[in-house]
């Protein structure tokens, strides 16, 4: 084990030698994106568990939402939904841009996505302020606030991730067509947050 360096003579005897050198080169191959996918499976399970609980509560009560729950306004959350869904397309342009080594373009699309995310969050806060029920009004109200709040937390993290990428991209050559894990990761996370919202919107507002 303790030979001072790779002995070329020795590796030569080894008919695996090309593969060995390549393996050395790819010593730390990038598994981060795959790791993030696995992590998002786990994240998705938290939401799935909560959705399951929501349906279980729904099934145990004879009337849902419980009697006396004020109707949910659809206009604002509808606009919010459109903003969030379109932001997924916007952020994808950043990916296309960086693959062409266009850092400026990537920054522009990321900035637009971040602004759209912030608009979504502001819309959410506005809706919270104008709803006629509070966290503890009834089971539906509690579920509404906890689910949308937990999702909002994820949107916030997504926005922070996007801003972090923007901050890092100040340095020239930090991201390139070869090296852009941060961009792909932020995009993937953003899509995840988006998909969760579509399900959440369907469950809470439409069903």
């Amino acid at each position: 084990m303790q030979s001072p360096a790779i002995d070329p003579a020795k590796t030569e005897q080894n008919h695996h030698h090309v593969a060995t050198v390549e393996a050395q080169h790819a010593e730390h191959p990038d598994h981060r994106l795959f790791g993030l996918v696995v992590f998002l499976v786990a994240e998705g399970m938290i939401f799935l568990g909560m959705f399951g609980a929501y349906f279980a509560f729904r099934a145990t009560l004879s009337e849902w939402p419980p009697a006396g729950t004020p109707e949910l306004e659809l206009l604002l959350p509808g606009i919010n939904t459109i903003i969030l869904i379109s932001s997924s397309f916007v952020i994808h342009n950043a990916d296309t841009a960086i693959k062409k080594n266009n850092v400026r373009g990537m920054q522009t699309w990321f900035a637009i996505t971040a602004i759209m995310g912030i608009i979504f969050l502001c819309g959410q806060v506005y809706e919270y302020k104008h709803l006629e029920f509070g966290l503890t009004t009834n089971l539906f109200a509690s579920a509404f606030y906890v689910l949308t709040g937990f999702h909002g937390l994820h949107v916030t993290i997504g926005v922070l991730a996007i801003l972090a990428v923007l901050w890092r991209s100040r340095k020239p050559n930090h991201y390139s067509d070869q090296q852009h894990f941060g961009i792909e990761a932020a995009e993937l996370y953003w899509h995840f947050v988006d998909v969760i919202w579509i399900v959440l919107f369907g469950i809470l507002y439409l069903l």
Partner: protein, 578 residues
């Protein structure tokens, strides 16, 4: 590759390979998987001792029918903390400890896929454990049982319950981060030539465990988030007085906590699958059957949870469904048990400490498995639900299964980890005391349960007194049984005989390197020349001889004829042989 990179590669400083770890490095945020593995194994053992003391305090209280040793509230906290510590701070992270130490070595990788994440996952464990135990000092320890069912958990003490939730959320995060690492490492970082069917079975077991932990742990997190809102913010998700439904909590809780049973046993199925063929000197019987039955257990483990809730008022058809799925789990488990028995059959068995614990595991786990099938039957379960029969069953699988499996693993890999051999006499004393103590403690509990003694009570009917006293003495033997182990480990670590690379003449990759392995494991990626369990073959003899030399990993004059094709399968692997 540019010329510069090649030059860098050729002049890579090799100092790391010559260096031994300093003792203080084990107390730092270190990203070496071997350091993290040892950190896990030692830390969890400390928690095992703490949880064990709590168990003995519980048993001392139960020696007599009256509540005369500790106050009933303290008793409630003690059994709650005992269970929580043993599950979340001992067995689950101990599995992660073995996985951390062994997986990269077994697949010929330098480290895990995400070393920093790995270190983070470990360093979450000690603070959460300390947080949990400080609740005792604060005078408001969690006392609603480790299941923490609402509405009870919402009324017994807010601070203690909040600490419990925080601690479990942290430990769950640690477990998820660990699982991501194990899964990505196993899927992406195998050395050339190691396909899925060349993996040691411990790797298969960890793959099944990690997948299960990833899918189920987040649901517990979801339940605990909702529970904390009930506890702190005044919502009523699980509180019937506010229109909520406590049974929903039970569903979410057991959606994690039944798979958790498999998260706690599958790694040690893996350990046993390594120990038994090595010390029987025979190829494992049914390699593929054991490998795929781990996955089957993982999958089935996700659809059996409501068998914990047969008395919670769930509909009849649902009971039927969960009864059937639960009983089906006995099939993949039985496949493993019989494969291990067939592996031992006619082998040259070495009765050393590791093998003794593995055989103890087999015998005792079967008893726990059978009482598990009994409990799966709805009519029987309704009769013995929440009695000591359940306590007996769960200790037979968790102590007789997981804990004996952990000890088998300790004895088996101790020479690799420390470079020194254990004292076999002390190991045998440890084994004998453990088996006697555990059966004295837990076997009579079956009878207590059938007689109708409830679990989780400090005071009981005097007619149960004699059996309880007997159980309590058994638990003292169990406490004493740990001493020879501790003495053995400390003494052998300091002054044990040198082990050499491969004291067991084993064939899996971790034995093909020095003991302890060099800091970055390997210099060049190893080339697999033999399957993990080809014991008894001519090739195995050559490989074992090679493993005792100075540079087993890097020796280029490998004795094997076929090192060329990465995709080639290894005909002598046990699946075909058996």
């Amino acid at each position: 590759m540019t010329q510069k990179q090649i030059e860098q590669l050729l002049h890579k400083p090799e100092t790391s390979h010559n260096r031994q770890r300093k003792w203080w490095e084990y107390f730092t945020f270190n990203t070496d998987h071997k350091v993290i593995g040892i950190q896990y194994l030692v830390t969890t053992f400390v928690f095992y001792c703490i949880g064990g003391v709590m168990a003995d305090l519980v048993r001392t209280e139960l020696r007599t029918p009256a509540s005369d040793f500790v106050a009933p509230e303290i008793y409630n906290s003690l059994f709650t903390l005992h269970a929580t510590i043993m599950i979340f701070l001992w067995i689950v992270p101990a599995g992660a400890g073995f996985a951390n130490y062994l997986l990269p070595l077994m697949i010929g990788a330098e480290d895990m896929a995400f070393p920093k994440l790995n270190a983070l996952a470990f360093w979450i464990v000690p603070p959460s454990g300390i947080l949990l135990i400080t609740s005792l000092v604060l005078g408001d320890a969690p006392d609603a049982g480790w299941t923490s069912y609402p509405p009870l958990s919402l009324v017994t003490g807010q601070v203690g319950e909040a600490i419990w939730i925080a601690s479990i959320l942290l430990l769950g995060t640690s477990s998820i981060l660990g699982s991501i690492n194990f899964l990505v490492t196993l899927l992406k970082m195998r050395a050339p030539g190691i396909g899925f069917h060349q993996l040691p079975l411990f790797c298969w077991a960890m793959m099944a465990t990690s997948a299960l932990a990833l899918i189920s742990t987040p649901v517990l997190a979801g339940a605990l988030i909702l529970l904390s809102f009930d506890l702190i913010a005044g919502t009523a998700f699980f509180n019937p007085t506010g229109g909520g439904d406590p049974v929903v909590y039970q569903h979410m809780f057991w959606f994690y906590s039944h798979p958790a049973v498999y998260i706690m046993i599958l790694p040690f199925f893996g350990v046993i699958s390594e120990v038994i063929p090595t010390h029987s000197r025979k190829p494992i019987f049914g390699y593929k059957a054991i490998a795929y039955s781990s996955l089957a257990i993982s999958f089935l483990g996700l659809i059996v949870w409501a068998h914990h809730m047969f008395t919670s008022g769930i509909p009849g058809w649902l009971r039927m469904f969960f009864m059937i799925t639960t009983m089906i789990i006995a099939v993949p488990t039985g496949i493993k048990i019989f494969s291990w028995l067939a592996t031992m059959w006619g082998g040259k068995i070495r009765l050393n400490s590791a093998m003794l614990f593995a055989m103890g595991f087999l015998g005792i786990f079967v008893i726990g498995g059978i009482s598990g099938v009994m409990l799966a039957a709805v009519p029987f379960d309704i009769h013995v639900h929440d009695t000591y029969f359940v306590v007996a069953h769960l200790h037979y699988v968790l102590f007789g299964g997981s804990v004996l499996g952990i000890f088998a693993g300790y004895y088996h890999w101790f020479p690799k980890i420390t470079g020194r051999l254990v004292n076999e006499t002390l190991g045998r004393i440890h084994f004998a005391l453990t088996i006697v103590g555990m059966n004295m403690t837990f076997l009579p509990m079956h009878q207590l349960g059938l007689m109708g003694m409830n679990r989780r009570i400090a005071m009981y009917d005097p007619k149960f007194a004699a059996i309880n006293e007997f159980c309590t003495y058994g638990s003292y033997i169990l406490a004493v049984s740990t001493l020879p182990f501790i003495i053995n480990v400390i003494w052998s670590w300091i002054a044990g005989r040198k082990a050499g690379n491969n004291p067991w003449d084993s064939l899996t990759l971790e034995w093909m390197t020095t003991s302890p392995p060099a800091i970055e494991n390997i210099e060049t990626r190893p080339i697999l020349i033999i399957g993990p369990y080809e014991y008894g073959s001519e090739r195995a003899k050559q490989v074992v001889a090679l493993s005792h030399t100075d540079k087993p990993f890097t020796n280029s004059k490998s004795p094997a004829p076929q090192t060329g094709d990465d995709d080639e399968s290894y005909p002598a692997i046990a699946a075909e042989a058996g």
